[in-house]
């Protein structure tokens, strides 16, 4: 149970209970401001009845023609509020916004090692569309799965036909 509402600048001062978790990256201010300025409708917070931030989602819409799609940039839930179905709820929200924008599909990138997340996305109807080699910098670099789910506009689910070969990060648009 939450209140879903748009992310505001003031939340940047209060999202520590979510962001102190090592799985969640805290970006420079410009990153959040860029998303808030460009895609304010795509950034939502889940708030607990006591007013605490339980998690949030950030996304955007991009691409041309049949590649017009919603993208999940960040999805994160505080360790204290996991296993409550919050991630699914936030994803559903992002899919609805993308539907309204008449996008063809929603996609996201995830570390191939992040089994929990991958399973969750699969349960929500996402498939591994392709592997992006050495997408995440680190020691060593890690591959990413580009996962996708078709929206209603993509009637034949063309966007969900997986690629047979992995791609390099520079081939990803």
């Amino acid at each position: 149970m939450t209140t879903l509402r748009p992310f505001t600048c003031n939340d940047l001062f209060r999202f520590n209970n979510v962001n102190l978790d090592p799985l969640t990256e805290t970006y420079g201010l410009s990153f959040y401001m860029h998303y808030l300025a460009h895609w304010p409708e795509y950034i939502q917070v889940a708030e607990s009845p006591s007013g605490e931030i339980m998690g949030y989602i950030m996304g955007k819409a991009e691409g041309h023609g049949e590649n017009w799609h919603g993208h999940v940039t960040a999805l994160t839930v505080s360790p204290d509020y996991r296993r409550l179905g919050l991630a699914a709820m936030l994803m559903k929200f992002l899919e609805e916004v993308s539907e309204k924008k008449q996008a063809y599909f929603v996609d996201l990138f995830v570390r191939v090692s992040n089994k929990v997340a991958i399973t969750m996305y699969q349960q929500l109807g996402y498939i591994v569309y392709r592997t992006v080699l050495e997408y995440y910098n680190g020691d060593p670099d890690e591959d990413a799965y580009d996962m996708r789910k078709a929206l209603s506009r993509d009637v034949n689910k063309k966007s969900m036909i997986p690629l047979t070969h992995p791609v390099r990060p520079e081939e990803v648009d």
């Binding site: 149970m1 209140t3 509402r5 001062f13 860029h34 304010p40």
Partner: protein
Amino acid sequence: MASKTHVDNTVNERRLRPIYDWLDNGNNKKALQEADKVLKKHPSNQCARVLKALALLRLGKESECQIIMDKVRSEIPCEDSTLQAMTICYREIHQPDKISEVYEAAAKADPNNEELLTHLFMSYVRLGDYKKQQQTALTLYKMKPKNPYYFWAVMSTVMQAIHSDQKLAKGIILPLAERMVLKLVREGKMEAEQEVQLYLMILELQDKNEEILNVLSSPLASHLSYVPQQKATILLKLERFPEAANAYRELIKKNNDNWAFYQNYLLAALKFQQPTECLDFLNNIINTSEKGIRAPYLARLDLLKRAYDSEDVQCNLQAVNFMHQYFVQFGEKGCVVGDLRLYLNLLTSKMKFELFEKIEKDVGVTSDEFPTTVRQMQRHIHLEQLRRICGFHHPPLADRNKQEQLIKRLCDLYKKGIELCPMQDRLPTDFCPADPYILLATHLLHQLWVDTSDASFLYKAMSLLEHGLLSSPVNFHIKILLVRIYLEAGLVVAADHTFALLDVKHLQLDSLGHLYAPLLAPLGNLPLASTTLDHTAKFFIANYKDSADHLTFAYKYGSFIKIQEFVELRERLDNSFHFAMTTVDKMLLDLCWCDSTASLISTLNSMHIQPHLDTIRWASLRDNRDLEVVRGWEPLHQNEKDSRMQEETRVCMLRLLAARNAILRILAASAKSSSNFLSQISTELKELDEEIIPKILQKFETDGKRNRPCKILVPLDAVERLREAHYSEQLRTIACLANSLSQSSYPDFDCIQMLQTSLCLQTLPIPERDTPISFKNFLFRAATCSESLAIISAICSVYAVKSKPHASQKKNKKKCNKKIESNMINETNETKVWREVAVLLSERVQNLDAVLTEFEKYELHTDLDENDHVCTTIMNRIIKRGQASLRQSCRSLKSRTQPILRLLSNLKS
């Protein structure tokens, strides 16, 4: 750099590309050379000249940069890449108004250039000149009738309204904005969601709710999202309760777990319905929705809270039942405690006992048993947290004996608990489910430390938490408490080590800085303080530069709903308390390292401190601390009093800032020939210290004891520092010195006596050995002593140097009429007094140095027992880092004695 893409002239681009590349790579020297090379062939190339100026600026040659920029500006450049480069340059040199000037001139020279006007508009956005924004946007719209330009003008009008007084806004400006939009509505030209949103914003600012409802029911609503939700909100605002309740009922049926819908439903429905009718609706939702939906269950409690008096027996009974049921269903979820906490005040203490008895029975772990599954353990933990919230860990329900038993029990529970969920069975990214046991135990240990001043409780907490961190390395709650406990014991290096694990950065430097940064220098670790303060200040300064860009993006993308929010964020960061405190602390720290009057004066000059002008905007200061990040389960107060005392601690920050800012201004005034300012500021500081500060400190006294650690969980940096500044007589002593110097050209008798006795120039006795100790108070005083000596020596030095030529001038004025001899006597007297002061201060410095030398040999004693759940690794770690903390604080304070002594030796002569 944005300019890269905009060079339309290809020749220009080919030539200038290398300069851009060097600038982008941060190699400004190479950029300068490259620019000079281009300018040799094309000395008049404007863009190359500006890039050269930019390189010079980044090399620290501001005045050379300024000369080139002024010259180029006078030529009225119109070419895009030049203007872009100038924009960057003026932004970095903090002259955003020049950007507007440049574009104004260009737009005048080339009046039909859409792009130039767009840039001009954005330059006004950077300045926040709403009126000129509006004019420019309308000019643009006339030239090219595109909707975005028109709505830029509308939004600029709205911003004028927001930033002017209510009467003008509502009477003239907002109606104008509304008419502007209506014109396009009538012409059927509304195109985008943002435009309709802006229209609604204008109506909302005028409280025209009926009109909003009309828009939401009109064809315009097809542009909008969440129309039913917006309608419901407006119906509630219009107090059309039956319709609002109905609207929310529909929303709940579609989305039965959105908490806000339930709250608004109850708000509306209870205005015209019986509580039982609402209850029927909620029960109906419960019966028809899938399991795991929590909102309707919690809403029943919300209904009780809204509808009944807490004295009502019937309500009490029902609340117990609902809460019990809630726990039965959701007891193992992490949210259950926070959810129920909101309603615990509905219960009498008798009812609380009853509730916990029921829950205890369900959980099924008696007081000498242990949970056998993780789920059972989670329920058990949540019960214990609820009990703590209801005062079961505090007197009168738990005396000291009981508390110690509880700690032991919690430690045992933790030990058994981690066996239920060994590390290899868990995701490395998840917390260990047993962790809350040690968090609870730590809170109790902290409480015992506060009550008994026995530091062995602190060391026990350290070992517990360090232990927890080994098996649950991602748990930031453990880290936060550990930082708090280490600082409570005065161990900075250990705290620093733990704080680094939190990886606090960017905006968190502001919201979480209070956990750590403000206590570094007061606990004696000056190098760490210096880097941290620098790092923090850089964040704020860089951000201020960028924040105007974000605003321009919001206009560019038409995100009008975000514009006022962005302006507020900018204000919030710019006026951050933490920023202001960081700046003042950093300046004082830098000044305390100066070892000659020359370096003092040049440092003071570079800081632009104006003794007559207080540059801090006191009324606008913003408290950006995130206090909720610390998990505490503090007992609920009946009157909902804030157990973290946010407001009181904010006032402490305010007073501390005022006091330290006054010290800074006294220093600056002493260096300038302005003794009347000195008198004024010293009076301010005296009043602050004698009247204002004691009032706020009183609120933190427990049982009339003034120097006891505080019970509050969140760090109390400002409270503790203010206490120290006040009770050590630091503020009093500095005020007294400043006052004395404003009266005469050297310290008077009273002032010298004050210096002789002042506590802030003396250390506390070295703590007892072979027993666990918190070094906080000892280190606080040692650091105060060192800082006070540095500041007082600095004030005396700059003042003495300044008053010498001043005295000789006086002599000339008086000419030969007066006896030169008496002046001579005066002057020798003056020299004598200064020497006396210098000798006294040097003595104090040497005392401090001797004490620190002695303290450096101190061996930390933890009293930790290897049998007591503590493994040797952890014990050794605590001792090693603790010892390093003491050494570093000691050495860094000692390293400051040399510069002070050099300063004083000048004063002597």
